[in-house]
Amino acid sequence: MSHGAYLYPIWLRIWHLVNALLMLALIGTGISLHFASSSFALLRFEHAVTVHNVAGLGLALSYAYFLVGSLVSGNLRHYIPKRAALFGKLRSQVWFFCVGSLLGEGPPHVPSMESKFNVLQQVTYLLVMFLAMPLLIGSGILFLFPELAPEKVMGMSGLLPVAVLHCVIGYLLTLFLVGHIYLATFGASLAEHFRAISTGWHVSPPEREWALASSRATASKMRPNSAEEVADEGVGGATE
């Protein structure tokens, strides 16, 4: 028997896909613009500017869509880590990714309708979505409308701190993307989490006994609906 939970509704999956594509376009064109030279260009400078501007505006809209969707659906609560034993939980999550998974230990957290994200995801996503993204988009908008930027800041061009902020956050988010993709391979199978964000259903296969066994007690409380139960209630969606 497999255990599943419908974690990612369609509006969220569409946002995630659009956001991912826009970020890839922005990273590619951003690198091309930053390291522009006569001998290096992923894309011709003028085309890179256009793509970067359009994708940047798209990202701003997509971010607004995410905020509204999260507020309306209650998705926002998944991003708030509980303060109780926060550092202990963080430590055990980092231990699992770095060492525990290699030793065959089970994950300290199993995704459920009540708690989609482990504490490391919560902290990271909170910083990414509610600090880095607003700063990235805000600085990008200032770049698009440079007349809005202060003319001088401490004797330097006012665009300079905006540019450095935009560049540094873009860089950190690029590294986040690499980590995000790598850590997504830590399911029972390599495809588990990728399948979940594609179909909406997070399914823990029966062969992952080592994972479920270690967190069964918690998971049984936090996961009221198995996939079968959800299907019975007519919510729809098939399980594997």
Partner: protein, 308 residues
């Protein structure tokens, strides 16, 4: 008089600044001229000028703004260095204008190159007569780029020279009464943030036919103007050796790299990156990627071992 001019020019040729005594002497001599050729002087003599059938436009030509002239590249020269004959009497000799020195009388060596470039320019091709150095470079106001307090000031001055004729009105110009210019905003519609570009870069950064990176007097029209963004937006930007040429040397000596010379004045995507920060970020990215790759390798090895 000629002797004094020679002494001043000799002093410059030797690379030395003029002594305070020489500067005071120049100032005294020029004050005699500016007594009439200043705004106050001209106003006082307006009645006299009218009797000489001077139009107001003509009177404007006689105006030399004392503050602007002293700050100009020629500001430490006597008026009579260029206005050589017939200007020591009043009213001046009617033939005196013909005796005014030409630019190439002093800028002889530069003219060997400039003249050739100018004759290939769109201005020389468009106008057989009437277009001279002073059409663009007002000798009483012009301050060379190397002497400007900032690159922005150089941009403002040089672009103002172009806009004197190429203003965005689409109107014809007295040099070409029959032609109508295309609107600047229309012909530059392809340029992102055109206003920002016009504030930060000179028209001639694109509108010259420059072999190599040095600026040329071969001004070209829109057909032949550069549309190569990376000519400025890259670490080897032409701007570094044009607009910021005079500061590149000192920058190299003090900081070891050139980017921050523009960094302090304006931010230019692709050109003003901090090389140390770039290298650190690449290093850190390599470290992070190595960490993930090593971890992935161990995972794969363990998976293989389990399979066996």
């Amino acid at each position: 008089m000629a002797t004094r001019v020679t002494r001043a020019e000799d002093s410059r040729a030797e690379g030395g600044a003029l002594s305070p005594e020489m500067l005071a002497e120049i100032s005294r001599a020029n004050a005699i001229c500016l007594d009439c050729h200043s705004l106050v002087g001209l106003e006082l003599r307006l009645q006299e000028l009218r009797t000489l059938e001077f139009s107001l436009e003509r009177a404007e030509e006689l105006l030399v703004e004392p503050g602007a002239f002293e700050l100009s590249s020629h500001g430490e020269m006597k008026c009579v260095s260029c206005h050589v004959k017939g200007f020591d009497e009043h009213p001046h000799d009617s033939e005196a204008r013909e005796e005014i020195k030409w630019c190439d009388d002093c800028h002889t060596r530069a003219f060997l190159v400039i003249e050739e470039q100018f004759f290939d320019s769109v201005h020389a091709r468009q106008f057989e007569k009437g277009f001279s150095c002073s059409t663009c470079h007002d000798p009483h106001r012009f301050l060379s780029r190397d002497q400007q307090p900032s690159a922005r000031a150089a941009v403002n001055q040089d672009n103002a020279m172009c806009l004197t004729c190429h203003e965005d009105s689409g109107a014809s110009h007295e040099l070409a009464p029959q032609s109508r210019q295309p609107l600047r905003s229309v012909s530059h519609a392809w340029l992102p943030n055109p206003d920002l570009h016009w504030e930060a870069a000179r028209c001639v950064e694109c509108h010259v036919n420059a072999e190599g990176k040095l600026l040329s007097h071969e001004i070209v029209d829109s057909e032949r103007a550069k549309r190569e963004c990376v000519a400025c937006h890259s670490s080897e930007a032409d701007l570094l050796v044009r607009l910021y040429k005079h500061r590149v040397g000192e920058e190299r000596e003090s900081a070891g790299f050139m980017n921050s010379i523009i960094l302090n004045e304006s931010y230019i995507v692709g050109a003003t990156r901090n090389q140390v920060l770039d290298e650190l970020s690449v290093l850190f990215a390599v470290l992070v990627l190595s960490m993930f790759s090593s971890h992935a390798l161990v995972r794969v090895a363990r998976w293989g071992w389990r399979q066996r």
